[in-house]
């Protein structure tokens, strides 16, 4: 049987002066009817370019220089724009990462689905209305007969993505291209969307080209997997085979870099003194009353939180977006003021000290930020970035410089990095610089606010390992903020789960993962993509380890 989509030796050139000549080079890919193929790769691997090439949406700066794309017996590469328009929609649908920016905020979602329907085919008004209802029902949206009158901002993130899928499927395409459709969503929402896609492809015999960086997601939905690196397809084959016994070394490295949902073997639980103690902490964001319309309700971002961190302990605060975990981090670091409650550092109440005193205490609590691209001042060189704070706190310039050189080595950077500017470094390297900047002040507590969520898996693994090393070496206490239970499981001794400003559960990592007490933690754990794969993997790992023990 001929495949539905057949990409042969596709090459897409990059503009002159890029770090490599081709965005995609000699890529080969086929998708059969009703099949789900996942294209996996890190940022810059060319996976999105592949999707755009198939949709005929490549910008002029990225021309196709070789190979063919054939869809359902029709050659797509080199097709005129007007002919392509008959392919997009009725033949191939596409959904994107961020549904909020892909939908028009001033039109109701019903009108937008209607637009997708009118663009192709000449249905009557009544037919379109019926089809719209049918689609909304198919997407399992609540109140399908009324939700069409709503605007984008009235829907949740998951509902928006469902509307996007409804629009993509409006004209019964045979292929759906999904470019990281769940990356911007919370895990529990991601799970629902993945489940929806799975049912839809069965009901509609839909082929799906799914672009992702997350092997957990791959394990959930893929029939076949295509692994890309630097524009090349390095390996492709059945999902089971690639996920369990990858042949290519790059694939193996990628898969090994996925953090496991199992606690590290030796959890260091010290009974030493408490570094940080949070008591009854509360922060409310006042709802602003606008000139028109009703006053918006207050939001309790942090609600009566109790948490403590012992010396040398890593405590992870896990929660979905809007859970208040970042607000908590900002209050502890002194960036925000709490409304009520107290933060004690070594038995000193930080809320009671003056502004000036708080500034003097600043070195004791340091922070690593999420976005490596905005966390370093682009106009300062690395030496200034790292040594500015210690010099301001009275350390001599010479001492600060020698400290900096020691720390640059510790975080795995060359000492000649000092004279360069942030733009010369990659995301992972910048996170290392940010870490050096925090550590030079010899903090008692390090707050890490999603320090790896903007990084690729392999870089993420390196940074997490570095954090573990440093923590062992310096006996650092870390408050680790993350949305990713896998990451939390690999770094933390204890985990606190937050939801709507409250800590719903906290306990040792092993205990919490093995026997979660609250329903919410159970749901969170259940939503982690690729759980089944994970279990098989660890069984395999233990099976491999046992014979070696006998030997």
């Amino acid at each position: 049987m001929t495949p539905l989509l057949d990409i042969r030796d596709l090459s897409v050139a990059l503009p002159r002066g890029s770090d490599r000549r081709y965005a995609v080079e000699n890529a080969v890919l086929t998708i059969a009817r009703g099949e789900t193929v996942c294209v996996v790769g890190e940022s810059g691997s060319g996976k999105s370019v592949l999707a755009q090439a198939t949709m005929g949406l490549l910008p002029e700066t990225l021309p196709i220089t070789g190979g063919t794309i054939t869809f359902d017996g029709q050659r797509l590469s080199g097709l005129s724009e007007s002919r392509y328009r008959q392919i997009r929609g009725p033949q191939i649908g596409m959904i994107f990462q961020e549904p909020m920016t892909s939908l028009n905020p001033v039109l109701t979602i019903g009108a937008q689905i209607d637009g997708a329907l009118t663009a192709h085919g000449s249905r009557s008004r009544a037919e379109r209305g019926a089809r719209r209802r049918e689609l909304l029902e198919l997407m399992r949206l609540p109140n399908p007969s009324q939700i069409g009158d709503r605007y984008v901002h009235e829907l949740s993130g998951g509902q928006r993505q469902r509307v996007m899928i409804a629009m993509a499927l409006a004209n019964n395409p045979k292929l759906l291209i999904a470019d990281e459709p769940t990356t911007a969503l919370d895990v529990t929402t991601q799970k629902e969307i993945l489940r929806l896609l799975a049912t839809l492809r069965k009901e509609l015999n839909l082929a799906v080209l799914f672009i992702t960086h997350d092997f957990g997601v791959v394990a959930e939905i893929a029939d076949r997997v295509v692994v890309m690196s630097k524009g090349h397809v390095v390996e492709q084959g059945d999902a089971g085979k690639i996920l369990h016994s990858p042949r290519d070394p790059y694939t193996r490295r990628l898969i090994d870099a996925v953090p496991r949902l199992a606690p590290p073997i030796a959890a260091v639980r010290s009974n030493s003194d408490t570094v940080l103690e949070i008591k009854g902490l509360t922060k409310t964001y006042k709802g602003r009353s606008s000139l028109f319309g009703a006053r918006r309700a207050d939001v309790k971002a942090v609600d009566d939180v109790e948490l403590s961190v012992a010396r040398g302990e890593v405590v992870a605060v896990v929660g979905e977006s809007g859970s208040g975990k970042s607000t908590l981090a900002q209050i502890v670091s002194g960036l925000l003021k709490a409304d009520d409650g107290s933060v004690w550092l070594h038995g000193q109440d930080l809320a009671q000290v003056s502004r000036r005193q708080r500034r003097r205490l600043a070195p004791h609590i340091q922070m690593v930020f999420q976005d490596p691209f905005s966390s370093l001042n682009p106009r300062h060189d690395i030496e200034r970035i790292i040594t500015e704070a210690p010099i301001a706190h009275g350390v001599s310039a010479a001492k600060a410089r020698s400290d900096m050189q020691r720390l640059l080595k510790l975080v795995g950077l060359d000492t000649n990095a000092a004279k360069r500017y942030p733009h010369a470094f990659s995301g992972g390297q910048r996170q290392r610089i940010g870490l050096a900047r925090a550590l030079i002040l010899k903090p008692d507590l390090l707050i890490a606010d999603e320090p790896v969520s903007a990084l690729d898996v392999s870089v993420q693994q390196q940074v997490l390992e570095l954090l573990a090393d440093i923590r062992r070496e310096l006996g650092l206490s870390i408050l680790f903020i993350t949305h990713d239970l896998r990451v939390a499981a690999t770094v933390a001794d204890r985990i606190a789960v937050m939801r709507q400003g409250r800590i719903v559960e906290q306990g040792s990592t092993a205990g919490l993962l093995r026997a979660p007490a609250s329903d919410y933690t159970k749901a969170l754990l259940d939503a982690v993509p690729g759980l089944q794969w994970e279990q098989n993997r660890s069984e395999l790992a233990t099976a491999e380890r046992q014979p070696s023990k006998v030997n």
């Binding site: 810059g44 960036l335 340091q366 691209f373 966390s375």
Partner: protein, 280 residues
């Protein structure tokens, strides 16, 4: 700097603007060498038309050389415009920075004051200020600065508001640096680009306001400026039109060149252009 020049060279309009403005500056600097002595001296027959021998732009009704007056006038006009721009940017930056950085009541107060100044038509306000105080170059500079700072303050405030939430500024706060240090070494240097662009516009406006004030005869009577020349030539515009037209053309040329430079600066400093290199 090389990138700046290359980008300027690649846009002819910006290059022309820069050349015109620089030549005005050079003429102002060497005015005494070009036309030594006071431009108020009567040197030739009155009402000589332009292109007369020795008097490129002719003479006025008292036989004063218009070319000399224009050259010396550029000095007065430019010095007032530059001083007024510096003062405007200084006031606007300080108020905008403090307002954006501290927020809350400070911000509210500063913005209400800013709006108060913005609500008054700026040119009329400047005239009133100069008329109330004695007309001198200093009072004109002050008047221009007082009416122009609000736009700069609003711009700086907006920049500071976005920059203060950036992680590197947060990192500086977590590092325990003082507010002044965070403002001056982390926030404001990153707000330079839009500030430069707006400074070029402020300068163009300053030239116009100064000319307007001098035209109305409210300026410094002892100094020749372009606006003053238009004002004195106005009475005889039907006999010798060039007395008003040529200084007017000089003002037009300078303001136009400044706008071109501002345009060039904003394209060169466009964040989208510089960001692309960082987010491949």
């Amino acid at each position: 700097m090389i990138g700046f020049l290359r980008s300027f060279a690649s846009r002819p309009s910006t290059l022309i603007g820069l050349l015109v403005f620089l030549s005005v500056v050079v003429i102002a600097l060497i005015a005494d060498w070009l036309y030594p002595g006071s431009p108020f001296r009567m040197v030739a027959r009155p009402n000589l038309p332009p292109l007369s021998t020795g008097y490129l732009m002719g003479t006025d009704m008292l036989g004063r050389d218009l070319t000399a007056a224009l050259v010396h006038g550029s000095r007065v006009t430019l010095s007032i415009a530059i001083l007024a721009t510096l003062l405007t940017v200084a006031i606007g930056t300080i108020i905008g920075a403090i307002s954006g950085y501290y927020g809350a009541i400070v911000d509210d107060t500063a913005m209400r004051v800013t709006e108060f100044f913005q609500a008054i038509p700026s040119f009329l306000f400047a005239i009133v200020l100069v008329a109330v105080v004695s007309p001198s170059r200093l009072s004109i500079v002050l008047a221009i600065a007082i009416v122009s700072w609000p736009s700069v303050a609003r711009l700086v405030r907006a920049e500071v508001l976005t920059l203060r939430t950036r992680d590197f500024v947060r990192a500086a706060r977590v590092g325990g640096l003082s507010d002044m240090r965070i403002l001056f070494s982390h926030i404001l240097p990153n707000a330079m680009s839009p500030l430069l662009v707006s400074a070029s516009v402020v300068m163009a406006t300053a030239i116009l306001i100064e000319s307007g004030i001098s035209f109305l005869g409210l300026g410094d009577r002892n100094a020749v400026s372009w606006g003053y020349l238009i004002g004195t030539g106005r009475t005889a515009v039907r006999i010798n039109w060039w007395l008003s037209a040529l200084p007017g053309f000089a003002i037009f040329l300078t303001v136009w060149s400044l706008n071109l430079v501002g345009d060039g600066l904003s394209t060169w400093l466009d964040p989208r252009k510089t960001e692309t290199g960082r987010h491949p």
